[in-house]
């Protein structure tokens, strides 16, 4: 009788190991765009819109050289160096590795990323966008700064378990415009959902750190290591009484309709990202946000 039990257990264990250690997909990049001034400018714009600068630049640190702490209930993450330094940055990364990192959430060696790197949002970005970003990142001043290891609780240190987390919380899928909606709305959707990854802070998370989908964009009153984040859906708990113009001005200047200037982490997001966007992109983001379903703030 013991043999079938042992065999079954072995099967389950090996299935689990296969699942956890199954290699990530390979990506091929056929047409890398020629690097010219236009591509670099486009890339810089996208890097700004993506919020890369805020997390990958430490306080008083070099631009994009990493080292900024991100607190969470699972410990402190330290952002890596994404300058083109070949040893400590991403200077040796191929285009394919770069694209795969965003679309599939793995590093150049195929190790799973913690979702502190918001690939759950970035997965919507296509190759064209990502390669423009890479072209810009390759053009910034290389800085030699070795990455600092994350300081995590013991049960979060075993990276293969992230495969399970991804199974529960992640699907690799590109953004497809909704043909029924306007061009502005679709632009806003791309900026809010994917590049701007607004939901990462503005949604509550479950005990595994996954976004609670029922309350996406409805705020995270407890914060997630960082500041509490307000509800950004058009609910009375959120931005129901904000106009498109109110949101545009907020994303440009950080000023609320009451004339208050925001502080906290959002002040940094505005300074590093949204204030640097084109006015029509801020307008598109505002239109998209006001089109979200109205959801009450979770208690």
């Amino acid at each position: 009788m013991t043999h079938p039990v042992i065999v079954t257990l072995l099967l389950i264990v090996s299935a689990a190991l296969f699942f956890l250690f199954w290699p990530p997909p390979q990506i091929t990049v056929r047409n890398s765009p020629p690097v010219n001034q236009q591509l670099l400018e486009q890339g810089e714009y996208l890097v700004r819109a993506g919020g890369c600068v805020s997390c990958h630049t430490a306080e008083d640190g070099d631009l994009l050289a990493g080292g900024r702490p991100l607190e969470s209930p699972f410990g402190t993450f330290y952002s890596p160096n994404i300058t083109p330094d070949p040893e400590t940055g991403i200077g040796n990364w191929t285009d394919a590795a770069f694209v795969r990192a965003f679309q599939h959430g793995v590093d150049y060696r195929g190790r799973h990323y913690y979702p502190a790197f918001p690939y759950t949002a970035y997965t919507g970005l296509d190759q064209q966008v990502l390669l423009a970003m890479k072209a810009y990142l390759s053009s910034v001043e290389p800085v030699r700064r070795p990455n600092r290891d994350h300081d995590l609780v013991w049960y979060a240190r075993f990276r293969p378990f992230l495969k399970l987390w991804k199974f529960l919380n992640f699907e690799s899928r590109r953004f497809r415009p909704d043909p029924v909606r306007s061009q502005d709305w679709n632009r806003g959707a791309l900026l809010v959902r994917h590049l701007g990854h607004c939901a990462e802070c503005h949604s509550p998370r479950d005990w595994l750190g996954g976004i609670d989908e029922a309350y996406r964009y409805a705020g995270n009153p407890a914060g997630f290591g960082g500041d509490p984040a307000p509800n950004i859906t058009p609910h009375d708990d959120g931005i129901a009484d904000w106009s498109v113009g109110d949101l545009e001005l907020f994303l440009e200047l950080g000023m609320t309709p009451a004339g208050d200037f925001t502080g906290g982490d959002m002040a940094m997001v505005i300074e590093d990202s949204t204030s640097r966007l084109r006015a029509e992109d801020r307008r598109a983001m505002a239109e998209y946000l006001l089109s979200l379903p109205a959801v009450p703030t979770p208690q």
């Binding site: 106009s243 113009g245 001005l249 440009e252 200047l253 000023m255 004339g259 200037f261 502080g263 505005i270």
Partner: protein
């Protein structure tokens, strides 16, 4: 207890009462008073900012005289700010964080920046109020100094 002792007791009690009242008054002056004063000042700044914002949003007609009026409020209020943050004045309902006095030099510098930028805004409003883009750009720089302070020295809003 004889009479002499009684009068002495009365004297001590009277002195104690005076001291209590005085301390109470001082505490009131030093805390609630100044917190309220600076909240009122912030509200005035907020009203002026909102007034400018409404014009940029097109919710109010763009009026050069109003630009000058709001810019004047911002430029004249900002220099009053620093004196309204005496050390330790962050009891309820104040939203000021204790770190303000731990990093006082940094705080001072941040407030001075808002004085400089709001003075520059007043200058633009006086000389070039018709140029909405110029006013808006300088207002953005002024607002950035507000956010920079709130980012570090004010309780996060929930």
């Amino acid at each position: 207890m004889d009479r002499r002792h009684r009068s002495g007791l009365l004297l001590v009690a009277a002195a104690g009462l005076c001291l209590t009242v005085t301390l109470g008054a001082v505490a009131h002056e030093g805390a609630t008073g100044v917190v309220k004063e600076r909240m009122d000042l912030m509200k005035a700044l907020g009203r002026a900012s909102r007034g400018l914002g409404d014009m940029f949003k097109g919710e109010a007609p763009y009026d050069e005289a109003m630009v000058l009026e709001h810019a004047t409020v911002l430029a004249e209020s900002s220099p009053k700010m620093l004196a309204l943050f005496p050390e330790g004045s962050n009891e309820h309902p104040s939203e000021t964080l204790a770190v303000t006095w731990e990093r006082w030099d940094e705080f001072t510098e941040a407030v001075r920046a808002s004085e400089t930028e709001s003075a520059a805004l007043l200058e633009v409003a006086r000389s070039n109020a018709a140029d909405q883009n110029a006013v808006r750009a300088q207002f953005a720089r002024t607002g950035r100094t507000c956010s920079n302070c709130h980012e570090v020295f004010r309780q996060p809003k929930d």
